[in-house]
Each structure stands twice: as C-alpha cells, then as structure tokens.
Symmetry: C2
Subunit: 363 residues, 2 copies
Amino acid sequence: MTLPYNFSPGPAMLPPEVLQQIRDDLPEWKWKGVGQGASIMEVSHRGKAFEALIAEAEQDLRDLLAIPQNYRVLFMQGGAWGQFAMVPMNLLRAGETADYLVSGGWSKSAFEEAQKFGSTHLIASGESGGYKQIPNQRDWTRSASPSYTYVCSNETVYGNEIHHLPTGLNSPLIVDASSHFLSRPMDVSACGLIYAGAQKNVGPAGVTMVIVRDDLLDRAPNSIASVFHYKHMAANKSLFNTPPVFAIYVTALTLKWIKAQGGLAEMERRATARSSMLYDAIDTSALFTAPVSKADRSRMNVVFDSGNVETDAKFVAFCEVRGLMSLKGHRVRGGMRASIYNAMPIAGVEALVAAMREFEASF
Amino acid sequence: MTLPYNFSPGPAMLPPEVLQQIRDDLPEWKWKGVGQGASIMEVSHRGKAFEALIAEAEQDLRDLLAIPQNYRVLFMQGGAWGQFAMVPMNLLRAGETADYLVSGGWSKSAFEEAQKFGSTHLIASGESGGYKQIPNQRDWTRSASPSYTYVCSNETVYGNEIHHLPTGLNSPLIVDASSHFLSRPMDVSACGLIYAGAQKNVGPAGVTMVIVRDDLLDRAPNSIASVFHYKHMAANKSLFNTPPVFAIYVTALTLKWIKAQGGLAEMERRATARSSMLYDAIDTSALFTAPVSKADRSRMNVVFDSGNVETDAKFVAFCEVRGLMSLKGHRVRGGMRASIYNAMPIAGVEALVAAMREFEASF
C-alpha cells in the first residue's frame, strides 16, 4: 500500500518498517520472538519484558549518540512545554539567573515560561529580524554567572537550526533538540541537558527523552513534585509512575530502525541530501524564496513562500492532490513548510521538487 | 487467536474489538471510513480528523457519565502522579487548607505530595487498620473551611472502593477515580473535579482524563506552568501542546466500545457479576480469604491471600500455567490481586475460580 508523503512538522512520518512491526505485534506483543500473552498496551510496565525493552531503548540511544556514562537518560511525559517548566524547576536555583537565547517561537515560549520560576536573562533574540538569522555568539550579552544557558537547536516554525552548538560557556548548556534530535551526531558532553519530544524523528507524541548530566540532578529542591523531578525519575529508571508504554515501545522500534539504517552519520547524510535538494530547488525558483539565511537553515523544516498568500494556498492545494500533504506553514509564519525528518524518503523530496517545477510552469 | 486472561492492575486488558480496530487502522488510519493518508501516530493533532476524534471522544465521555454543561473535559499527560501535583497547584489557594482522606497507598501519596504546595489536613486514615475499611464519614475530622476535599474512590493496592461518594461537604470534592472510572455511573455534579488515568478501564497508559467544574478553573494563579494549568488546557480544548495522540485515539475507541456494550449501567452489571463471583469463591474457600470488609470491597481489584507466602507464590504460578496472568499482589501488600476491569470477560473470572478450586483440592 502506498501512502502519500507527509510533510507534517510533528507528529510526523514514521518508517514503514516500524508501522509494520506495530501491526505485527497486534493483538499479541512479541518480545525477542516470544509472545507476551497481551498487546504492548496491556502488559505491566514492571514486567520483565517491558523493563528489558526500556533498558534496550536507553542503550540504543546511548549507542547512537555516544552518551557518556555520567549522563542519565529519562523517558518522561509532557512534551517540550513540560520541559519549559521542568528545566527551571529542576535547575534554576534561588538567587541565580538563567540565560536564554531566543531564536524562534519555541525558545521564546521557553524563556517566557521560565520567568515563572526564577530570574532569567535574554542573551540575544532574533525576533526583530523575523528569526531569519540565529544571533551570533559573538553578539550575546551573557550573565556573569548564569545557572544555565538555554537554546533551542532547531526551530520548527521559522525553520532555522543551530549547526554548531555554542562553546566556551561558563554554565551548563541546556538544549531543546526536539525537532532535529537523532538527525545527526551530537556532542552530548558539551551539554548539561538535552531534551526532545519523540514525535519528529524518533516516534509518536507522548514521550519526551531527557539526557541529563548526573551532577545536575542534585540541584532540584525536594519541594518540587516527584513526577517532575529529574533525580526522582532517574533513581527509578523512568518507572517511578506508569510510563507512556506504547510511545516508548514505538520509540524503541524507531531507535532500532535508525541503527539498522546506519546510525546518525547516515541520518545526517540523508538529511543533508534531502534539504540540499529542496533548498536548491527553491533558490533556483523564479517563484519561491526561502527566507532563512543560508548558514542557519534547518535541514528538518524547510520554510519557503511565494510572497503572495493566495499563490501559497494554491500551491499547497496543488501539492495535496499529488499526495504531498501538510505543507501549509505555521499559522504565525504563513507560506509553506516542508518538514523532512528521518523517515522522509528522498523520493518524497523529489516529488515535491517536481510539483514545484510543474506549478511554476503552469503559473 | 486466544490470549491468556490478564489480571494486571494496569496497564490492563483492552477489549479485543479495540485491538482489532487498531490493527485495521495500520498503516493507514481510517476516520469515518475515510483514509487519512497516514497512521494515527503521524497525523497532525491540529488536522480536521484528529480534532473531530477528540471532540467525539469528549462527547462520548459526556454521554456516558451525563457530564453537566458546566464541567470541562481535559485530556492531559502525567498520570495520577501528575494530578497529585496539579490538583493542589491549581486549586489550593494561599492561606487555605485542603482536606485529604487517606484510604490506601494512592491517596496517601496524593496527601504527601500536596504538602509541597500548601497547607493540608488529614481528615481520616485507614492506614492503621491496613486499609481494610474506608474511614466512615461520621468519623472524619474536617477543616472548618477547606479549599477542597480529596478522596481516591478506588485503591488498587489494597482493593477497597468508595461505593457512595461523601455528601454534605462544605467544599468541592476532588476524586481520583482512576481505577474504577467508567465501571459504573457516577454523579459528576457531586464533584468539583474527577480525574482518571486511562490505563485501567478506558485505554492505554499515557493519557489522563480530568473533568472539572468550570468555576474552579479561575483558582489557579497565572504563575503556574501553562502545561499544568487546567484553565489553559480547557481554553485550548486539550490541544494547547501536542497531546498524546495515540493514547487518546485508543481511549476514543474504548469509549465507543463501552457505549456499544450498553454504557455504564451494563459495565456496572458486569463488574458486579465478576466481583461477586470471585468474592463468593474466596469467602467459601477453605484456603483463601479476602481481608477487606465486605462493604468496602473493590469490584475492580480483588485482593486475597492464603496467609502463607509460599502458598500464595505457588498459586500464582499454578494460575500462570493455566493462562491466568499477573495475579501477584502489589509488593507492599503481597498475596494475590485479581484486577477485573471492564474488558475482563466473565469467562476469565470463571477460569480463575476453577483454578482456585483445583488448587484447593490438590493442596
């Protein structure tokens, strides 16, 4: 069965092999070939099979990202908005200030949310320039001794990406990597904490991975809620309370798929191939332009437009009848956005480029 | 394909028709018979089909429970432990005290967690009696003017259930109904807020339903995190951030199943039939006893034991080879626990009773 190409920003495409495995595991989940007497949704999260699954998912994630031993991996609920709160709840100590870089809508929301929990400082913002450029580290105004420095390394709405994480900071770097997580290798040791919702490159909505350096676990006061407490979740290997079992299971399958495809080097090669093809087509188009400066363009979320709202809408409709879905840009940005995550085959981008050429010719 | 009977306390059995539908909806989700071009895990939560699904799920829940118009329905993440925090965060105003009834391990945890957020008062506890009885409302020592009164209406670990909600309270009643939600009708208008994780009677782990009277939405200060703010979630129809799409989808299917089976009156009839059969077998057994007093016994979680740890372990193993799974009691309680939620057919209980008789005869 051939399905359309889905350019949704997230929840997003999953590999067909993963969907097939989920189907094969219904009504009975098979773990290592052994039927578990129930579907993955019905087994105990404290049973041997699920405990083995979540341990293996963690190990696969550790292998893919080469996560050092002094980092813990947590599987949590609540998505990025949950982390917007949990990061300052856990890491922003009384009397300290947290530094935030605003490079798009998500980091702006994280910055605003953090203000509920303590003192924050804006080190730079790309807002006045429409987030077409990520403020250069040379131009940041940093606090003297921040509690941490927060960035969003890929902004889905405006389509920019931090291709090289900041270095030489005087505080732990916190990275919201949600929308390009596992699309390329990443130097975990340069970060204090990395988090990512699964629903872009790694799985369905409902689970958020948090990778945290263990010396940071002691920062949180015991007065914060147990379920939002990183140390508490780490001590219980993410099984403090009932976890989102199915979302973790699909994530585990997708991690295996990424490994089988060749790991993060191969994911990066594909991401570069997909995004280069698409940006090249836009840059050589007489009709469409990509607003983000070349150095900061996202390889995951390719934002472009014709400069005319009606033409944009026509193009989105033109694509839909050709099986190219969810290309409409975010409501605050307009235009088009092609989200091309790990599971998007290059053929999907080829089909989109062909549709662009056909649309231009008919225009 | 015949699978074993799964007596797991949650995640728990789902109806076979629901599992079949999930399988049929892979790789392409069909909404009202129309293929959506992607699986339910890949579609946008802001697309028309998913928005229709979540609206219909809410309406089905409203129909089943006869939820009055002045109550809002939220689909949230974080499970009961999330609500242990969110209830006081949202509802316990500065200078006020919240009353808690402790009738088992879950309400005890909720009570302890709430102390992080404000002033709390214990109105009664069944702990010294091993939670075999639920403290009678006549014996409660209530605050003069509590912010709210909190109860857990079914305690899975100890197997007790509040069969008649307290009345005549001078404050909104907050009910953790997680483990018997939708197993019987419930007078929503007698409550200020009801919440329930789906993973017992209504779906998989990963989504928590909150039913809240709308005058309570204004209690929370704007300083609490947006994603934990009931009013904020209500204003956005649970689509403030990316929801746990798949868990909501399975819950929606299960709500339809409950309706098709005859609604909550039929669920209650079945729950009574299952639990009566099992308690009768225990009460007439020479080997097993059920410790909870008859008036307070749960129809969902039937706790029993032989009084001998080794005999209990033998019986659990005896059942497992007969396809009767997950009967081991909670680690703090020991013995056996048969969780018999909506999806458990009476044949499962018959098989368990037969196994008890066979085990007793061979003993």
